[in-house]
Symmetry: C2
Subunit: 347 residues, 2 copies
Amino acid sequence: MELNERKTKILEAIIRNYLETGDPVGSRTLSRYLDIKLSPATIRNEMSDLEEMGYILQPHTSSGRIPSDKGYRFYVDSMMADREKEVSDMHDMVVEKAEELSGLLKQVAKLLADNTNYAALISSPQLHRNKLKFLQLSKVDDGNILAVIVVEGNIIKNKMIEVSEPMDDDTLLKLNLLLNTHLNGLSLEEINLGLITLIKERAGIHSDVIASVIDAVADAIRADEDLEIYTSGANNIFKYPELADNEKASSIISTFEEKNELGQLINESLAKDRDREDGEKTGIQVYIGNESPIESMKDCSVVTATYELGDNMKGMMSIIGPKRMDYEKVAHALKTLQEQLDTLYKK
Amino acid sequence: MELNERKTKILEAIIRNYLETGDPVGSRTLSRYLDIKLSPATIRNEMSDLEEMGYILQPHTSSGRIPSDKGYRFYVDSMMADREKEVSDMHDMVVEKAEELSGLLKQVAKLLADNTNYAALISSPQLHRNKLKFLQLSKVDDGNILAVIVVEGNIIKNKMIEVSEPMDDDTLLKLNLLLNTHLNGLSLEEINLGLITLIKERAGIHSDVIASVIDAVADAIRADEDLEIYTSGANNIFKYPELADNEKASSIISTFEEKNELGQLINESLAKDRDREDGEKTGIQVYIGNESPIESMKDCSVVTATYELGDNMKGMMSIIGPKRMDYEKVAHALKTLQEQLDTLYKK
DNA sequence: GTTAGCACTCGTTTAATTTGAGTGCTAATA
DNA sequence: TATTAGCACTCAAATTAAACGAGTGCTAAC
């Protein structure tokens, strides 16, 4: 069977109506709602076809139809195609450049959640390539030496190293020189065991300090270490009855709180984004129901977008809501913030 | 009327029973549950008295009684009095010393939540007095200077400062000297406008860099800036029907997510802890229902404990659950972690 | 191809009924 | 005087029954 124009119109009407009300929609309602004049009976026939084709389904015999995952998928795809649509009832979302990255990301998550009334999350940007840019040991007091490490992208890492006896300025200077000459500009792969042993040898009695420093450097460079996730508006799910029963709500909230499962979503989304042909799309992805990589979100839709923060640092943000979420509004919100973030550190 | 021994026993039996089952408890049940032999009728008379005295109440005529907030308060107070009780069914809770403070605190929050099946939170420790301990500017690359600031308690703060043109090593050295001679060892109150102006004058053309540094120093020293709150197990509240309805659950979850309201709880709890006579109690507080400073937790009980991490840095942890929570288990869990944290950095 | 008509389905709503745990009061008992 | 048995009463919760109504599929007429 073919999805002709009339069927398409009816399918869209069903979905639109369901998005608005959240109730299954019947033939009589559609007959009034549609711009083409058709009797309920005719529409019933078409709906019967649409159901057979898998686009809609009945929660139970003798109730209206609701979109199936396939139906949503069709709707989202065709919606994404004509992207010029303006969404009006969105507040201005302006990101203010924050002192700290974490503050900025928290701000973005909150903006997304507050403006859409769904749950939102954003990941800290992942560095593309990590090279050591700056390394310095300083004496803080007699028992402590502070290692400051800066890697590409100006990510800063500190480590306090305890020493059993005070280290004089001269030794410190030498260690600094030693570390910098050997390590500066190197990436994780390039710092191998041979090099480490060499440095330790040269450091002589201070090799234990060096070991601590190198540990810290490895930590700083390893990307997955820094993967921070900021969430906001998880409690918004209570606004949607189909997600608000204890079982579902609990598992969604718990996923949001633990955060480790969210990592999968982020990785998958970033990977997909990397694969797509350049220039083609805007980097927005939609996971409907079971399409989502996260088990506890099988009754939700997840919309993700990647962003780029200046120096090739890519991160991901996402909105999670009921399947009948307002996809246009959500996509628009994500795009807006995407653009703002992209330009924020560009200037 | 007086709370004699028999009334006390009955009251305790009511509360114990209610803690176990969560159902209102009636005279017949009590008659079986009590060790002294009394007929339901007698018990009814006593219950009637207890109700008049405000220790228990009926959800509706012709149902059993449940403890009032006053009843819980009585129970908690008398329970706290004999503190030697051993709680058996608690898993071993061992905190492993973590690299980063934030990791440690997350671990503690999770331990508390997992072991008690209630929601848990822990605040980062608040410094008692904040003095600048170490300050250093370093050149990271031509366009960026990194300021590293360490304050008492080894809290480290970084700030990247952009400069329009490269700064040579000599100038940097001079600025470092200038800042250190004037600022080292000072507290927030001592860094006044006069001093700032003086330093800026001496810095000449680099006064804008100095301004940024001093901003960062102020940030680092101000205590409330660092107040981080880590939560875990918020979704545990779904395990208790009396908290699991949408309205309540939503508001509790939202408080946990926003976190800013939790600050009040932390401050109040730390303040109360400071006020108590030394050596008297263990620093554990119980807020029952409306006693809690947080509006959204009026149907919960909140148990808080302070901890001390080495250098006079005090923080607070808390467990939030239904009023009928297992107070002994919770108090025991908090004490266990309290002791572990106290010794962790003492060694 | 479209539509009106009709019998049928089935979740939802409302009301009525039953059940049962629990109470207060009174009178009998120890 | 304190305790207890007995009994009528209350009321939330569970159960059952009936009515409702939105919606369907099918058939026959247009």
